[in-house]
Amino acid sequence: MVDERTERGTTELWVSGTEEPDWLVAGTDEGAQLMQKEETVERTIEQRGTRVIDDFVIDDSIDSDERMVVNMGPQHPSTHGVLRLHLELEGEIVRKVKPIIGYLHTGMEKTAEELTFLQGPTNVTRMDYLAPLHNELVFSLAVEKLLGIEMPPRAQAIRILMTELNRISSHLVAAATNGLDIGAISMMFYGVREREMILAFLEKVTGLRMNHNFIRPGGVAADLPDGWQDDIAGILDRMPEALVEYDQMLRYNHIWRGRTVDVAILTEQEALAYGITGPTLRATGCEWDLRKSEPYSGIEQYEFDIVTASNGDAYDRYRVRMDEIAQSLRIIEQVANTMPLGDYKADDAKVVPPPRKRIDESMEALIHHFKIYTEGFKVPEGETYVAIESPRGELGCYLVSDGGSKPLRMHIRAPSFANLQALPIMMVDSMLADTIAAIASIDPVMGDVDR
């Protein structure tokens, strides 16, 4: 029996449970990775302290022969990209889960060592592709910390404005995909519809819908365009209505509540032990938001509340995200009303390219221009870690410079990467359908996970 089991472990089905060609088994044998240690019933119940769906069938006298191993992903509609889950099922009940990642590994941390600090944002912005501006911001903050330069208030305000808008758009995608995963197809369209409005603004400012390369070390790439106040006003006008609509579609709906309340519960202790941050942590009742505890880019000037919930289930995570949208709208309104005037890049000719007009006027400016765009600017030796609150949690950047114009090491602490560790503990002994709700509720972005 033991042999049979281990043998089965290696030859699991690949994509959507279909046949596997022979050569593929030789290609990558991820299936050979053994599952984690088996959890006993007592430990599971003690650990989760939650309702166990079938108190009857959990019985370790059932030999694992009755379990069916299913590979969900990497190509599966609800794994939010290329997450692969190794599930052991008993009927519809998931007994063990192992997330297998790396299918989107892009080697960005290696590429970062090849790019200058000026080009760096183009690289990091592609990590968490739902919140590109946050990635740019954390990288820029880290570089600026090493450089020791201060941002002018307008740059800081623009950064906050853009990142909070980005947070809304990211949470909208989370809500949309969450709705789609649980079968509410219209939510997907409604969520993306509002996101489209925000993207239109981001595009107007940065020229790109995603992966903006807008927040750079030393400031932001361009000023806000003419008439930005009207667009912000439009967003502030529309979003509250949309939130009411979403609530009517999902939040009050009893099917939705049935699918999410008490599903995929994570306690505060578990969340802290597993380094889980962001809405997933706040849904467990832990009041931890880096915007409050370690304010960055002048966000402490604006009033907003930390949204928390108490149960730590999928419903709470959804609710925290939706309420955070409202809080972000508050911040955006304040930023728009108090947007300071003045420079939007640091006043440091070694770091910031000169205005275009200066190139014609001043030889020194021209030389700076050439130097910045060819070899980049030099960053003093040192190491630092900067963290901001991305839509998914603590987004950190650990940056080591050896004094050159390229980082010696750039590491992004990806929130999704840590949050993904919550999947096995929150999914154990849930229904198969709940795994979908669980994945959607922690909103992983695989680009962020695999980098």
Binding site: G27, T28, D29, E30, A32, Q33, L34, Q36, K37, I101, G102, H105, G107, E109, K110, T111, E114, K145, L146, L272, A273, Y274, G275, I276, T277, C286, W288, S293, E294, E381, G382, E383, T384, Y385, A387, E394, G396, Y398, V400, D402, L408, R409, H411, R413, F417, A418, L420, Q421, D450, R451
Partner: protein, 182 residues
């Protein structure tokens, strides 16, 4: 073992990264945390608290830190100082204390010939993925880790990509007329 010796030897090379240094306020959490550890050195890097530890003490220190209120370990990563330093690798662990509202970074010097570190998974379960990533990317393996396998790269991958001696692996970009002579 040779760890202690290597730590002492490399001490002079660790400190170049320290930008400023100020006496540690005795009353702080940090002071009481570091006190039992004789070999721990405290630094301030850009206003952030950093503790440099010999690697044998990592687990004890982490346990003490957890008891002292550092509930979360948010990040484990490594740096490869290939050719720049004799002791090639450096492990960086980031701890967060919500109770005290502070962060603490632990740095460990790891020699290239014996890249092993005690695992923190038993203390901070959340370091599981991070340690696997460090193993995958740098080849630093963690003792007592429950599942020390590759995480990002395919299982049969050769080499550890983030080491400095691992090539980027770029291919030439295609162009049409680049053969034209000027």
């Amino acid at each position: 073992m040779s760890e202690m010796a290597s730590d002492q030897e490399s001490e002079g090379e660790v400190h170049p990264l320290v930008v400023e240094s100020r006496p540690l306020p005795k009353a702080t959490v940090l002071a009481s945390l570091i006190e039992p550890f004789d070999d721990a050195a405290w630094e301030l890097s850009f206003g952030q608290d950093v503790v440099v530890l010999p690697r044998a003490q990592l687990r004890d220190f982490a346990a003490a830190a957890k008891a002292a209120g550092f509930e979360m370990c948010v990040d484990v990563t490594a740096v490869d100082h290939h050719r720049a330093r004799r002791e090639r690798f450096e492990l960086v662990v980031n701890l967060v204390s919500q109770r005290h509202g502070m962060r603490l970074r632990i740095r460990l010097i790891i020699p290239a010939d014996d890249p092993t570190v005690p695992s923190l998974v038993s203390i901070y379960p959340g370091t599981n993925f991070f340690e696997r990533e460090v193993f995958d990317m740098f080849g630093i393996s963690f003792d007592d880790h429950p599942d020390m396998t590759r995480i990002l790269m395919p299982d049969d991958w050769q080499g550890h990509p983030l080491r400095k001696d691992f090539g980027v692996g770029s291919v030439p970009v295609q162009f049409k007329e680049s053969h034209q002579v000027t």
